[in-house]
Subunit: 396 residues, 2 copies
Amino acid sequence: MDGKAGHDLYRPRPGNHTVGHQLHPHPFPGSGRQARGGCGRVPEPPWLYPARRARLRFPQCLAYDRRLGRGQSRRHLGAYRVLGAGVMGEIMFERIALIGIGLIGSSIARDIRELGLARHVTISTRSEETLKRAEELELGTDYTVSAAEAVKDADLVIVSVPVGASESVAQQIAPHLKPGAIITDVGSTKASVIAQMAPHMPDNVHFIPGHPLAGTEKSGPDAGFAGLFRERWCIFTPLPGTDAEALEKLKDFWRALGSRVDEMDAEHHDKVLAIVSHLPHIIAYNIVGTADDLETVTESEVIKYSASGFRDFTRLAASDPTMWRDVCLHNKDAILEMLARFSEDLASLQRAIRWGEGDKLFELFSRTRAIRRSIVQAGQDVDAPDFGRHALDQKK
Amino acid sequence: MDGKAGHDLYRPRPGNHTVGHQLHPHPFPGSGRQARGGCGRVPEPPWLYPARRARLRFPQCLAYDRRLGRGQSRRHLGAYRVLGAGVMGEIMFERIALIGIGLIGSSIARDIRELGLARHVTISTRSEETLKRAEELELGTDYTVSAAEAVKDADLVIVSVPVGASESVAQQIAPHLKPGAIITDVGSTKASVIAQMAPHMPDNVHFIPGHPLAGTEKSGPDAGFAGLFRERWCIFTPLPGTDAEALEKLKDFWRALGSRVDEMDAEHHDKVLAIVSHLPHIIAYNIVGTADDLETVTESEVIKYSASGFRDFTRLAASDPTMWRDVCLHNKDAILEMLARFSEDLASLQRAIRWGEGDKLFELFSRTRAIRRSIVQAGQDVDAPDFGRHALDQKK
């Protein structure tokens, strides 16, 4: 790894408030990167300067305390420290380029920063306004509206844009990629992303599609947070002939973010995600739309009484519209198949209600309960009733 | 109010560790209620004996500390105290009978106990085992498997059973109701409950159907907790000619539990609930069933990757099967109408996906986002991303 040489020197040590043996007094040796694209770089960003970071950020709890938001208890700290223990401060890539800085991109940026995984992080997004915000949040070291500029010299490029924009990004970055670089993405559909990006990738880079199964209903650079990927799965759908070492290096990066990693082919990924993610979002959008259209029940009633079930759906239905439009358009076949199955089952359930088939209803309603238990046991959801929302409700 | 006479004496006073002026040294004067139905009563239940309660339970935070579960922070206390401030210790009913002691019944019982709203609480449930558990949890003062026994002398009777059992309960209790008593329920359907119960009610009692819009996916007496109804709506669907004073007294009881109260006719209630509660539950049950049936995606994959959306639905789909079977059977018409609208909308959405109508998808996905915002603004859900689940996730 490029960063290994400086490994011992740049690793922040908890409790070590003086770092007196810097071989590189300036953390960006030879950086002539001023004014890339539309925005300039921040000279000596304090968060990547190890000496200053050691002084400013340790003891670690300062950083984590700041991050504790509503509903997060201090016990949070312990778990996160365990995550960081093995990798904290290990520079895994000399330069990482993040193309797109929304919820996912900005969470990755925060993790890289907290964990010290790269020496330089170039942030690129088309919107000047968003780029400015990313800079205010100190999410990277360099900022540019040009994806082409951003990928120069980057050892790892992470594309975090709505899947419909993948081809355009691939075309822009392809001629500028550093030989040997790893190019990955975070898109929710994989066959379509491969079809859009792979043809443009030069032979001397490693293009490895990925998908971290994590997120919230919020979007934009302010919505991200460190730890988003912790205990969540990141699925890779490598193409045949993918370099094993590059794949392992990319997996290590995601493991450092706390993720569990998995591998499957793109078609299977798209089917699995159609049922566990795409269908639930589409159904949520649909039911909220149906409620919104009712004339016999007013919108204010729908809102007032939403705690009796409806509100759960509004969370998914508040997700980023652009992202989900693209998912629908780019995983069409798998989604249509799942929708057909869902509708078939719903028609059957509807018939059971119409004909008063209590046993049939009871059987289905009991079976689904077991699945919830398995999810909680697998550590994929909290066991607290109502997602633990009650505790937060009380604080309003 | 019956309890007003003893009001000043029995009101627990925070911080008052010695209660030296008891007029009634025994809190159940003249109680000859041993061995009601299948189970006996607990002699001198400590939680209703004011002197002992004052000694054992104050300072109040002891009680609340015990109740703080996972994901509940200490800040919870402040809010709950505010709730209790106006009503703490005011005995509103001399005796309350709770028929059914599941999630809702046991939460009511806990609130009555915490807030000191009744001198005696008789708990009744058909199952010996559940009754025993209620007694172990000290949810009442008297316990019986006979609903008929339970309502004797009760000034307020709260029926908290699956709606399909309403008629049977009404038949059992009707001949034994105390003249002037208020009889209410908590059923999720109202027209059906009225049809089942009203014909059996004697003229000298006040039958006032109600529905607190609160709950979690858990069930049984262990699942309940004090504060469940706080900031939640309780809807009453009084029959024509209902006594205004009785209705107000019942509303006051629910307000004491922290609820906001509302009134509408039963048919409108059933339509509103069909969209805000029944349809979401049915859709959740259905989607979990669809996922469970898939042969191309394994169940273990559905569980592993559930955090990408699916897990949200599994919570509602883990709700009590008996309760939801009964809701489906007893609000059939309104549910079938909502299902028809939902399916119509879904067919249209499906078509938009098939034909790649991105603008139409984007329009719907944007519109639904606004509804989420309104719900959060109305205080009916938390604003924390992912229901604040992230904080709890970290503690596992």
